[in-house]
Symmetry: C2
DNA sequence: TTACTTACTTACATATAAGTAAGTAATGGT
DNA sequence: ACCATTACTTACTTATATGTAAGTAAGTAA
């Protein structure tokens, strides 16, 4: 939050990109500093340790998610609109080259991750699951969706399927992602 | 293939475990050699480079998959039985601590991976997708499954969903995996 | 018994990541 | 004019991964 000058923002932006492409152990401060045309050690000025950087990045994701949801809800967004936002977000990130969602990108390294990062990741994951559960619940109540499974289990599968779809699509291309999203929707009894 | 003495087998076994927990960049020759009580350089005796090791490991997966499928088919396994084998395999691996499937475990590092490893991973992925497509196709024809989407798209989603489910389950526990598998089945119109 | 192979070890080379300490140049306030 | 702060750079340390070269001990085949 605090001092958000341009360099800091660019650091976060590139770090996010790298994280969502290569995971926690897949990028270094040097990768970022080279992009910005500054030195390795400059990143340490903003984020003394890598865990600080990634934790900050995940926390920012979480705040953005909360703000975006609040805005949709406030403007009277239906369950379908909210879920569509989730899918569109994945597509947008795919088009920006961020093939993997943040939670997915650190799952592999999860056990070996610094506590700080683990914690932020769990919080983000939980926010997403809670939100999707709530969306599915109201969607079923409003007749926007139609399925008979427990809402929480179904929400988990939606998140998992999208996570997997993003990963496979990073190899097989955008069409795969689009197609899978449309199947996920149809499994919710969402007929256009 | 060739010389499969005990050390070699153990190397492959530990490497597979590490790969499926931590991904390509998440483990080193030292991790493996320590487990075996031998020296780092001994692994290089069997696999001069890391890419040789991982490529060999993926190829072995592919061969095992082909053999297992052949055996099920030969013994007259139905589409449901074949698909159940796929799910049971995921559960078995989960119980062995291999939380992530091999293809999923290298997707994050994919672009930066040595050609050899990329190639083997694509082949494995393709074998799985082809197999599941074929199983779904015959399953629909035999009335074992019931869905209306194109078989290939549905097969992709099954694979993606299971991949994602394994990953989330590595954090949230076995119950999540079991629950998601049962939803994936119900989305195929598989009612017990 | 000699020659060769297998399965390693010791010791080293190279690269890179993560992090620190100290210094500098520019800016703004007092 | 002085001081503090910000935003870096230079130069270094430490740790670890990957890989190589050379050697050795035990077994195998002629």
């Amino acid at each position: 939050m605090k001092d958000m000058n341009q360099t800091n923002q660019q650091i976060l932006s590139y770090a996010r990109n790298f994280l969502q492409c290569r995971g926690y152990n897949g990028f270094s401060y040097k990768d970022i500093s080279q992009k910005l045309g500054i030195k390795n050690a400059a990143i340490h000025h903003y984020y003394p340790q890598k865990e600080d950087l990634v934790a900050a990045l995940l926390e920012a994701s979480r705040n953005k998610l909360a703000a975006d949801i609040a805005q949709i809800v406030e403007s009277g967004g239906s369950a379908r609109e909210q879920l569509q936002y989730y899918f569109d977000y994945a597509l947008k990130e795919f088009d920006e080259g961020k093939s993997i969602c943040p939670p997915g990108s650190v799952i592999l390294d999860f056990e070996e991750l610094p506590e700080k990062v683990k914690k932020q990741n769990l919080l983000l994951l939980d926010d997403i699951l809670t939100w999707i559960s709530r969306v599915l619940k109201t969607g079923v109540e409003q007749g926007e969706f139609n399925f008979s499974d427990p809402v929480d289990a179904r929400a988990e599968l939606v998140v998992e399927a999208l996570m997997g779809a993003r990963q496979l699509s990073s190899i097989k291309g955008r069409k795969t992602l689009v197609r899978s999203i449309s199947l996920i929707k149809s499994d919710l009894g969402w007929k256009d």
